[in-house]
């Protein structure tokens, strides 16, 4: 699922209605979870606000992180096949 600082109304509009993504979107406008995961991008340049930096975590049913991508370059982002390979490796 996706997690961002956007409000439920914003994720409903942009991600569910416009983009049509079928998965869950969670709102963290106070950056509580984003902060606990150490992913706060403070005073981000484009938004001028504190937002989440891009990062992905694959969690198994026991709650353990089995794969993650915390990119060091904005232009190097996770490819879908990388996540699928990581998910297949869990079985």
């Amino acid at each position: 699922m996706g997690i961002s600082v956007d409000t439920p109304a914003q994720t409903r509009k942009h991600m569910v209605q416009e983009a049509g993504y079928p998965f869950t979107f969670l709102s963290d406008p106070k950056l509580e979870t984003i902060g606990r995961y150490d992913l706060v991008h403070a005073q981000e340049l484009a938004s001028g606000k504190d937002i989440a930096r891009p990062a992905e975590f694959l969690i198994d049913p026991s709650g353990t992180v089995r794969w993650r991508m915390v990119t060091e370059n904005f232009f190097v982002i996770t490819r879908p096949e990388q996540v699928l390979d990581a998910a297949k490796a869990l079985r």
Partner: protein, 148 residues
């Protein structure tokens, strides 16, 4: 009527293409986004044309206007290349280090957040909630920048 200095014009236009094709075209595919090699190849060709055009412009038969324009075009091309490199390598890494982010093999911190239907959702709940009458094999958390 003198022939235009087509080498400097080619180099000038090609350097524009080399710079702007990254954000508008090559950023779409991982292979050309994760390293801007396609743009660097275009820049290499552009710089060759700019160099040849500059040499042509400083032949005795060319006007002072041609010489000034050629210098400007060559400098602009180099500036565009510097701009692309700055954007990719410097601005691209303007991200927090996130050294405290959960590591592989460790427990992911639980959370309760609101979904797009204003319902509270916890990670623990997502990890056991059945999908198509089967327990989930895993949950993928995607932290993204959002629309603010």
């Amino acid at each position: 009527m003198k022939r235009p200095n087509w080498k400097i014009w080619t180099g000038f236009i090609l350097s524009l293409v080399a710079a702007f094709s990254y954000p508008f075209v090559f950023v779409r595919w991982p292979i050309t986004r994760e390293f801007p090699w396609a743009n660097l190849v275009l820049f290499a060709i552009a710089l060759v044309f700019l160099f040849l055009g500059l040499r042509r412009a400083f032949k005795p038969d060319k006007t002072i206007i041609s010489k000034v324009f050629s210098c400007f075009a060559a400098a602009f091309g180099v500036l565009l290349l510097a701009g692309l490199l700055f954007m990719f390598f410097v601005m691209g890494s303007w991200l927090p280090a996130s050294t405290g982010a959960p590591q592989v093999g460790l427990k992911a911190p639980d959370f309760t957040l609101t979904d797009s239907n204003d319902q509270p959702v916890t990670l623990a709940q997502l990890l056991i909630e059945q999908v198509n009458n089967k327990p989930p094999a895993a949950v993928l958390l995607i932290f993204y920048r959002g629309y603010w």
